[in-house]
Subunit: 263 residues, 2 copies
């Protein structure tokens, strides 16, 4: 049986009531040599799914407290409330005696279609992935291992990658796992924090997430996901970043927003 990188690296083993053990690997390295926060959130989302025994994260909020480190991690979960449509739980990702990440999440079942539907948001109008280019421009950076896990394809290589930030704090691109794993609801909360922050186009050197909340709105169909990322307001070094995601059928899969600090 084939195993996929994302599944291997977010695997968690139940230890005792509500506590899970996982391992932070070096395959999700982000800008600045840090472990990508979305990947750390993936460990928590996985533990929460086990704990709540409901298939779909509907809403996940993560507060990033400290940088993650390579090596063992414990995820401590607590059920807050089991509801009819939404069940809520909390997770704390702990390394050594330090809490790295605290998460609140509501899980449910996105296959139960009930109630009103009206979707006004439109997916990005991108050329098909084959007519787009890899956003890394074929370059690799030491420690930036996440680009070996995920492929993002856009109309053109972003300005900041080429050394000339465009000033445009929006980006549109396709995303998929490089190893062929399909993006499912469980991976979505990770992936909305896995692309380069668009403040890099405004001359920032990087950005560090304080809080991220994602609403997962639908189970994605297999295939590339179309993403739109934008930052409108940087104030005293703090900025929001919105990240919306559509599947290959044009269904809105997720909307996320984070508050982050530029550096």
């Amino acid at each position: 049986m084939t195993t996929f990188e994302y599944d291997d690296d977010t695997a968690v083993a139940r230890q005792q009531d509500g506590t899970y053990r996982g391992e932070v690997t070096d395959r999700w390295g982000a800008i600045g040599g840090t472990v990508n926060g979305g990947y750390l959130l993936g460990l928590c989302t996985r533990a929460l799914q086990h704990t709540l025994d409901r298939p779909d994260p509907l809403v996940v909020s993560a507060y990033f407290l400290r940088p993650g480190r390579l090596g063992p991690a414990a995820v401590r979960t607590d059920v807050v409330r089991t509801g009819r449509r939404v069940s809520t739980a909390q997770a704390r990702l702990v390394q050594g005696d330090k809490e790295v990440l605290r998460v609140l999440a509501g899980f449910g079942d996105l296959s139960t279609h009930q109630g009103r539907t009206r979707v006004d948001s439109k997916p990005p109008e991108l050329p098909v992935p084959d007519d787009c280019v890899d956003v890394t421009g074929g370059r690799s950076l030491p420690g930036l291992s996440i680009v070996d896990r995920l492929e993002c394809r856009a109309r053109s290589v972003p300005g900041w990658v080429q050394g000339s930030p465009s000033g445009d704090m929006t980006a549109e691109f396709w995303m998929q796992f490089r190893d062929g794993r399909e993006i499912d609801v469980l991976a979505v909360p990770s992936l909305v924090d896995c692309a380069a922050p668009v403040v890099l186009e405004d001359g920032a050197m990087g950005s560090s997430t304080i809080e991220l909340t994602v609403h997962v709105r639908a189970r994605p169909r297999p295939g590339w996901l179309a993403c739109r990322v934008s930052t409108s307001n940087v104030m005293d070094g703090l900025h929001e970043e919105d990240f919306d995601m559509w599947d290959s059928d044009g269904t809105l899969v997720a909307q996320s927003r984070q508050l982050a600090m530029v550096f």
Copy 2:
């Protein structure tokens, strides 16, 4: 000394380490006879400010678990991490033995202006408040006491108030407390959940918040606040609602988003 309704009704008294006692009053009744969730969040925000001893909520995430009830409430707070720029804590609002609301929040100091600033969002272009009308259209509804606390003024009375929903799920209006209390950072996390949901313009009867996250971006100047609310996507009865707020100088004060369920 004059006291204001919002301050009286969100007052919390420290009981023992990290626990506060407050009272849920009948002055913040919302559509459907429920207690407004923003008001309940105000009790938590106030307790968190005491606990963290930092002036400004930077980001607050609230998970609404059950309807609040009139009468006593306990707010149990725990400090998660005291950081250099951001300190993080959790609050649980409990009534009887039931948890009603769980909150994570990061507090800091918005008077410390440091780092990059670039604001692309624009406030709504509204006529001055004197040239706008009260959105209630002068009507009052039994139990809907919150409209006696807060005044919202728009270009015209919303369609749903007049019995003919417009289909336009955006709204722009001015907001202030009716008793003259200025809106400050502490009130902001309440107020982004205090207006009528814009899904009412799509024919919904109401909406119940599952999760709300607000980024407070600046301390507001005194005076009316300009608000823009919008919902773009209702899917299977779940919808997001974005609520942005600017002060009288045109400074972006807050951006919030919630996931809610229509009824």
